[in-house]
Amino acid sequence: MTSFSCDKHRFHREGGMMEVFPSSTVSLREFGCEQTLLSRPDGSASFVQGDTSVMAGVYGPAEVKISKEIYDRATLEVLVHPKVGLPGVRERSQEQCVRETCEASLLLSLHPRSSLTLVLQVLHDDGALLSCCLNAACMALMDAGLSMSCLFCGVTCAISADGEIITDPTAAQEKESRALMTFAIDSKERRVMMSSTKGSFSVHELQQCVAASQKASEKIFQFYRDSVRRRYSKNL
């Protein structure tokens, strides 16, 4: 890992700002990522959204236990480790969301009778945790070089008490929101791969949030492309 001197990307972080919908702009907090930061896993990445940060490590394809073996494709296991305490029911549901998204985008049939393990460690939670996990997972899978049919990204939307839509909310905004939704969006056609919602909202609000997430996902995919391009560039 050689380091190059380049123009520094130092920006002051501002809070997730939002405006009254539908006056056309909604914003994402500043995000950053780093790949290949752990030496032991086959692929690793850390993703930071504002203050929320998650580290992901991927092992695989590797040998699988006979009891978990699937004859024609790989067995994907996802583990989410919270910062404080032991993993509980909430982590299990987050694992399920991430696993279903990954299984839909990875080409598992290329590695039959093998195991892929994805470990997510929460480093700090300041809102939008599930979408940060999804983004970190996608970057780690890319870093490990596993074949995927499409990339995916996670976007969280919150509907505040007076009906405004906030994308990428902070923990304080999440607490005061009436509904919270996380969508996993794929990169080929910007369709929703996974959705996890909490709270009450109307069908119209749901569709608005989906559309807002699809727009926001463009930025995230552009960011993926930029980071990978920078990583493999010969000069910065």
Binding site: L28, S39, D51, Y59, H204, Q208, V210, D226
Partner: protein
């Protein structure tokens, strides 16, 4: 998941090199790897990088009932979790138990924290300080990194302020009153020594490859005042007294750690991400263009098919049992559970209605909802 076994060539190479006083990464016998300590955004969060070994510790607190035999003292709870690695499962759990026990002995039994200051109401409420250590990357010598991270997090942590007026106890939130630090008597830090060739050669701070070929490991926890807090020897190495006293001289690097810990400022993990690395990228806050969103949303809603109104209203045949849909009529609630699924999807409800004759068939996951592979 199984790890790649180490080949005999590699093992012989490392042992031979040690005999000639050479290490894989060019260090000397008593050299430590580069250590980097960072603190996170909230109180009690500490990251330690010892070469490639990375460990994170987080301290949290809550009010609990104290132990019966010690009503005046707070409780310290330690938990060390290993990042899943290709180690075979029994070995991994053995290592986890060993590290947990060592960390407990190093920090709790050495009485480095004043537990009596954690008492709020004697016999009723005391603070329980919980230290969670997560190992992120294991490149050898997890114990030292974990002990530095744990003591760093304890030094960094602030607990909420409490005031007692007669019978009333008020716990102030961080916004009301500044939280106060824990009272720490001394900082024990462990140093590990690996032995090779039946104790003939010793190395400080073994990396992962060296750990695999070592014969025994000796861990000594010491503090700044050169007091030994705990010693743990594993691997069955017989140490001569001269060797043991020689080891104390190697602990001079402890003073550097103490200085680092005191000087460590607060900075979020987000800000500590290196900017100059080619594998890291950061962007600022971006706005998202949303001009077409409301039109797209409205058009989707209008063209969507309305759900059919074939859902019968739920009935309550027996108190405590709810039933949606027609099916087997049964007085005992147990069998009715199979037909009571809370389905919102229109397709499932129609299938249930049409299959009324086939009372034995229970559809839990209808084919329409299966994801295409």
């Amino acid at each position: 998941m199984k790890d790649t076994p180490m080949s005999n060539c590699e093992r012989d190479f490392i042992l031979k090199a040690i005999e000639e006083k050479k290490r894989l990464d060019g260090r000397q016998t008593y050299d430590y790897r580069k250590i980097k300590i960072t603190f996170g955004t909230d109180y009690g969060c500490c990251f330690v990088d010892l070469g490639q070994t990375r460990v994170m510790a987080q301290v949290s607190c809550e009010l609990v009932v104290p132990k019966e035999n010690r009503p005046n003292e707070g409780i310290m709870f330690f938990n060390l979790e290993l990042f899943p690695s290709p180690l075979v499962y029994p070995l991994q759990s053995e290592l986890s138990v060993k590290l947990n026990r060592q960390l407990e002995r190093c920090l709790r039994n050495s009485k480095c924290i004043d537990t009596e200051s954690l008492c709020v109401v004697s016999g009723e409420k005391v603070w329980q300080i919980r230290v969670d250590v997560h190992t992120l990357n294991n490149d050898g010598n997890l114990m030292d990194a974990a002990s530095v991270a744990a003591i760093g997090a304890l030094c960094h942590f602030r607990r909420p302020d409490v005031s007692i007026q007669g019978e009333e106890v008020t716990v102030y939130s961080p916004e009301e009153r500044d939280p106060i630090p824990l009272s720490i008597y001394h900082m024990p830090i462990s140093v590990s020594f690996a032995f090779f060739q039946q104790g003939t050669f010793l190395l400080v701070d073994p990396c992962e490859r060296e750990e695999r070929v070592m014969d025994g490991l000796l861990m000594i926890a010491m503090n700044k005042h050169r007091e030994i807090c705990s010693i743990q020897s594993s691997g069955g190495i017989m140490l001569l007294k001269e060797q043991a006293s020689r080891l104390e001289l190697a602990d001079s690097s402890l003073d550097n750690y103490q200085k680092d810990l005191k000087a460590g400022g607060r900075c979020g993990f987000a800000e500590s991400m290196p900017q100059e690395r080619i594998t890291a990228l950061k962007t600022d806050q971006t706005a998202v263009e949303m001009t077409d969103v409301s039109e797209t949303a409205s058009s989707i809603v209008q063209t969507a098919v309305a759900p059919p109104q074939t859902v019968p209203s739920p009935s309550v045949p027996v108190p405590g049992v709810g039933q949606v849909g027609e099916g087997l009529r049964n007085t005992w609630g147990l069998e009715e559970e199979e037909e009571e699924e809370e389905d919102v999807e229109m397709d499932v409800v129609e299938i249930l209605d049409s299959d009324e004759e086939e009372e034995e068939v229970v559809i839990l996951y209808p084919e329409t909802t299966k994801k295409p592979k």
